[in-house]
């Protein structure tokens, strides 16, 4: 498997070596967050609000404190007072005071499931008994859980200190609308006047959760000298460190975060929940404390992605040229400000070249869990709206839907509605690959069957990454990095170092280390790790190669410029040493070879994907079955194609779940009624077919190996593609997610 790809300019990149951490993960040896154990360790449980909106009148912890086996009980009064302070966590900016309230509620609870108090005890059962003995008196307040209701003047107000930020201008009175965004390009009215056909539709999407299989977990040990160590499952150990230090009001240098293996995140494991609470329990009890969430706590107490209301209008000439686009998007932020309204507004028209477009976005707080990043945050919602309307335009214009997209596809030089001009992108190549695919060219026959195609976009962040590596005497290289590995990134980063040094992937030993052991590294998110940490690894390689060259020159008594390096072989005038031979010699002749690099690439890259789906709808039940699915995506350059395919397949299936099943059911009291995996219903093995993939490679000019991030784009097109396929199967336009059997059955029934 791990042999160079014939015809490739690379020896390692593009091959499929076994991931370095794989052995531990198939044998059960890998240490995930809940697998760390210490002597004298205590176990905690968190008490959560039963109300969607209530004032906390009093909390009495005395009975819990005297419960046998209890070592510490904490409430918000054990936490420092926090002032408003904005901090960028890598996939969004948060106010630390709000973050603190989300960790332990202060005066009010703003959603059911918000943490109120916590206990550390000898085991989890004792802790559970003890939290049941904490008496909280609440004064219930009216709750609101639908975004348009929360925007009304007479809606219950969540915060009296949140004012609308309208492109930098603050409103005079408090509001549930925390942010407005307005983008304008050209003159939309003029554009629509020039259109032969205009289509406008409204869309609703339900709140959905990332659904990682590993619940949140944190273990904290607060030493007598004030140094705090946190072992946790996190997408960003440095982001976690910053939040913990800020919430606890201790210097960042006093906090060490040890990232354990992480059982999925998808954006949801960037913000902290349990880490500061475990720390306070440790401080109070003088022991290490481990806190894990139960699955219902994950659904009710951690951040899903927004529910939304959107209206999109598109106009086109009869030749199929888009003349104008208009979008009005309202996202629910959950209980506190912040959320992906910005990316949604940036992404809604990002696949196409519009001369005229207008986008208005509103971010709205309401009584649901605070939303967090979820894989391409905001873009899946936006694509549902834009792509569905575009498909209807294609239908009205009688133009092939891929042709219509190709006629309007964004290319290098296209200015997005939100401002940036695209560098070299692969949008057209992706559409052409879809057009040429076996799937698109295979007939689909049979009643109630339909095919859909949709396009999706996500940008990738640069942010900061650091790495270092040392050359071992046996010619292997130990790579130290700070990017937590959610899906095989140790391999994709190690492979870039191996390629640079001319050694094999197996000769690099990547280690993900704690915040004291590597330079600052931003989150594993924003599809950035293979791109940015990979860039750092490449630069580490250049550093090592430079040192090895100089040392070889000393050995051969020549100048470094006269040492030739090719595919890991160093030579001069007939003398020649492989990387391993040179490493051994250098170990015996002088100082160690240690390379380092830290990067903050300016360029964000752009990833486009097209999805093709065939569905069959049962008109008697409204159930949609996915018959065939193909994901086409521009990866720039696929470093490890298996894990690129894996991202494409996994993202598609998450999108299928979002499209067809997943949603938070809230009753009229703001209570979630389906907080378990089976009731929430992420796709099971039986729900999906094989997912075919076509990797397109349009190299990213801003990366030495052409890498574009691939992790997030695959979740963007599925709901739109499936909605379109359902239309082609049974003739109804579904504009509400999920397109679950009851809703689809009703739509089919209403139609006939």
């Amino acid at each position: 498997m791990n042999t160079p790809v014939p015809g490739s300019q690379y020896k390692v990149i593009g091959t499929r070596p076994i991931r370095h951490d794989g052995m531990d993960k198939v044998t059960g040896k890998a240490k995930y967050g809940a697998d760390v154990k210490f002597s004298k360790m205590l176990y905690g449980r968190v008490l959560r609000s039963p109300h969607a909106h209530a004032r906390i009148v009093s909390i009495d912890t005395s009975e819990a404190e005297s419960h046998p086996g209890v070592f510490a009980v904490i409430t918000t009064s054990d936490m420092p007072d926090l002032v408003d302070k904005m901090a960028d966590l890598g996939e969004g900016v948060v106010n630390m005071a709000h973050l603190g309230d989300n960790v332990l509620a202060r005066e009010k609870v703003l959603y059911k499931g918000q943490a109120v108090a916590a206990v550390a005890a000898s085991d989890v059962h004792v802790a559970a008994e003890a939290i049941a003995k904490i008496k909280v008196e609440y004064e219930p307040l009216p709750a609101v859980t639908w975004v348009l209701d929360a925007m009304r003047e007479d809606a219950p107000l969540l915060h009296d200190n949140v004012f609308t930020d309208d492109m930098g201008k603050k409103s005079d009175k408090p509001s549930n609308v925390d942010k407005e965004i307005h983008f304008l390009k050209g003159d939309a009215e003029e554009g629509f006047a020039a259109a032969d056909v205009v289509v406008e539709r409204e869309f609703k999407t339900a709140t959905v959760h990332q659904g990682y299989i590993e619940p949140h977990v944190a273990t904290a040990d607060w030493n007598e000298d004030g140094n705090l160590t946190v072992w946790t499952s996190t997408q960003g150990s440095f982001a976690c460190r910053a939040q913990v230090a800020e919430i606890l009001q201790i210097p960042i240098s006093k906090v060490k975060v040890v990232p354990c293996e992480i059982g999925g995140g998808f954006g949801g494991k960037i913000t902290v929940y349990l880490q500061p609470v475990a720390a306070l329990l440790s401080k109070k009890s003088g022991r290490p404390v481990q806190l894990t969430m139960q699955r219902d706590e994950v659904f009710e107490g951690t951040g899903p992605t927004p529910g939304s209301f959107m209206r999109v209008k598109l106009g086109a000439t009869k030749e199929g040229k888009l003349t104008a686009g208009e979008a009005w998007i309202a996202f629910d932020a959950g209980a506190f400000p912040g959320g992906p309204i910005g990316p949604a507004c940036m992404c809604v028209f990002s696949c196409y070249d519009f001369e005229h477009a207008k986008v208005d976005g509103y971010n709205v707080v309401l009584n649901k869990p605070k939303t967090q990043a979820y894989r391409a945050p905001g873009s899946t919602h936006a694509a549902l709206a834009c792509e569905t309307v575009l498909d209807e335009l294609a239908e009205k214009l009688e133009i092939d839907p891929l042709e219509l997209r190709l006629k309007n596809a964004a290319t290098e030089g296209t200015r997005r509605v939100d401002g940036p001009v695209y560098p070299r992108i692969g949008c057209v190549e992706v559409l052409q690959a879809a057009q040429a695919s076996d799937h698109w060219n295979s007939p689909l026959e049979g009643p109630n069957r339909g095919r859909g195609v949709a396009l999706g976009f996500w940008f990738n962040c640069g942010l900061k990454s650091s790495a270092s590596a040392h050359v071992n005497p046996d010619g292997t290289v130990t790579l130290t990095e700070g990017s937590t590995d959610i899906g095989g990134s140790r391999a994709s980063i190690a492979m870039q170092l191996a390629e640079t040094l001319g050694i094999t992937a197996e000769e690099v030993h990547p280690q993900v280390v704690d915040t004291d052991s590597v330079g600052y590294t931003d989150v594993t998110g924003g599809s950035r790790v293979t791109f940015a940490t990979g860039l750092a690894a490449y630069k580490v390689g250049l550093d090592i190669e430079g040192q090895m060259t100089s040392r070889a020159a000393e050995l051969w008594d020549c100048s470094p410029e006269n040492v030739r390096v090719e595919s890991g072989v160093y030579s001069h005038n007939g003398d020649s040493l492989t990387f391993a031979e040179l490493a051994e010699k250098l170990h015996a002749t002088g100082e160690a070879v240690v390379g380092r690099a830290t990067v903050a690439p300016d360029g964000a890259t752009n990833g486009f994907g097209a999805h093709l789906v065939d569905v069959e709808v049962d008109p008697d039940t409204g159930k949609t079955t996915i018959l065939r699915y193909t994901v086409i995506q521009d990866a720039g350059k696929a470093i490890h194609p298996s894990y690129v395919e894996g991202q494409m397949q996994g993202g598609a299936v998450q999108g299928i779940g979002w499209a067809l099943n997943e949603e938070y059911f809230f009753d009229d009291q703001g209570q979630m009624k389906n907080a378990s995996f089976l009731d929430y219903r992420i796709p099971t093995f039986l729900d999906v077919p094989m997912i075919d993939t076509i990797i397109v490679e349009v190299p990213n000019p801003d990366h030495p190996y052409g890498v574009r991030g691939v992790g997030e784009t695959p979740i963007v097109p599925p709901p739109a593609a499936i909605a379109i396929a359902i239309h082609n199967a049974v003739g109804v336009r579904m504009t509400e997610l999920p397109m679950s059997p009851p809703k689809l059955w009703k739509a089919i029934s209403d139609q006939s």
């Binding site: 498997m1 499929r16 076994i18 991931r19 951490d21 794989g22 052995m23 993960k25 198939v26 044998t27 059960g28 040896k29 890998a30 995930y32 809940a34 697998d35 154990k37 046998p68 086996g69 085991d123 989890v124 059962h125 990332q210 990682y212 299989i213 590993e214 619940p215 293996e261 992480i262 059982g263 999925g264 995140g265 998808f266 894990t292 699955r295 959610i486 899906g487 095989g488 298996s642 894990y643 395919e645 894996g646 991202q647 397949q649 996994g650 993202g651 598609a652 299936v653 998450q654 378990s676 995996f677 089976l678 992420i682 796709p683 099971t684 093995f685 039986l686 999906v688 094989m690 997912i691």
Partner: protein
């Protein structure tokens, strides 16, 4: 503190004794008492399959089995799947086939798939999907898991 019960089982071929409270699940005892943390807790209510172990040869969610019920039972966990320093073909094929991303569901899938192959050495795609429908994976979209189980089945069959 509830009074503890003494239980004798065979775990991964070794006779094992432990003390547990009546309310402790087999998963909790494996992880917290016996330090066998390879079986994972994803839901603690039988929804996700990450804690799958073999109980007298049959796959069960160990979070739904009380530890006291396992007196005299034979239990195989993920830690017992590789034999004498050799990976089981399922483990090897999961590695080669990139059938894991975050890896938290992997122990449950491998144990569950072993139970399937033990009684059906040549399962169809449909049979694999049906038999492992109680194991959730959120990362892979299942495609590479199906392929890796099929590949392992082929290797096991050609070895016999």
């Amino acid at each position: 503190m509830t009074k503890k019960t003494h239980v004798t089982t065979t775990i991964n071929g070794e006779e094992t004794e432990f003390l547990c409270e009546p309310r402790q699940s087999l998963l909790e005892v494996l992880r917290e008492v016996l330090d066998l943390t390879g079986s994972k807790e994803g839901c603690n209510n039988g929804n996700c399959g990450a804690c799958t172990v073999l109980l007298d040869g049959l796959p069960v969610d160990s979070c739904l089995v009380l530890a006291v019920e396992t007196e005299g039972a034979e239990i195989t966990t993920i830690e017992g799947i590789a034999q004498q320093g050799h990976l089981h073909p399922l483990q090897q094929c999961f590695l080669e086939g990139a059938a894991l991303q975050c890896g938290i569901c992997t122990p449950g899938f491998i144990v569950g798939a072993k139970a399937l192959l033990d009684r059906n050495p040549d399962p169809t795609e449909e049979e694999i999907r049906f038999n492992l429908a109680g194991n959730l994976c959120r990362c892979t979209g299942y495609d590479k898991i199906v392929r890796s189980i099929q590949e392992a089945a082929d290797r096991l069959q050609s070895a016999t």
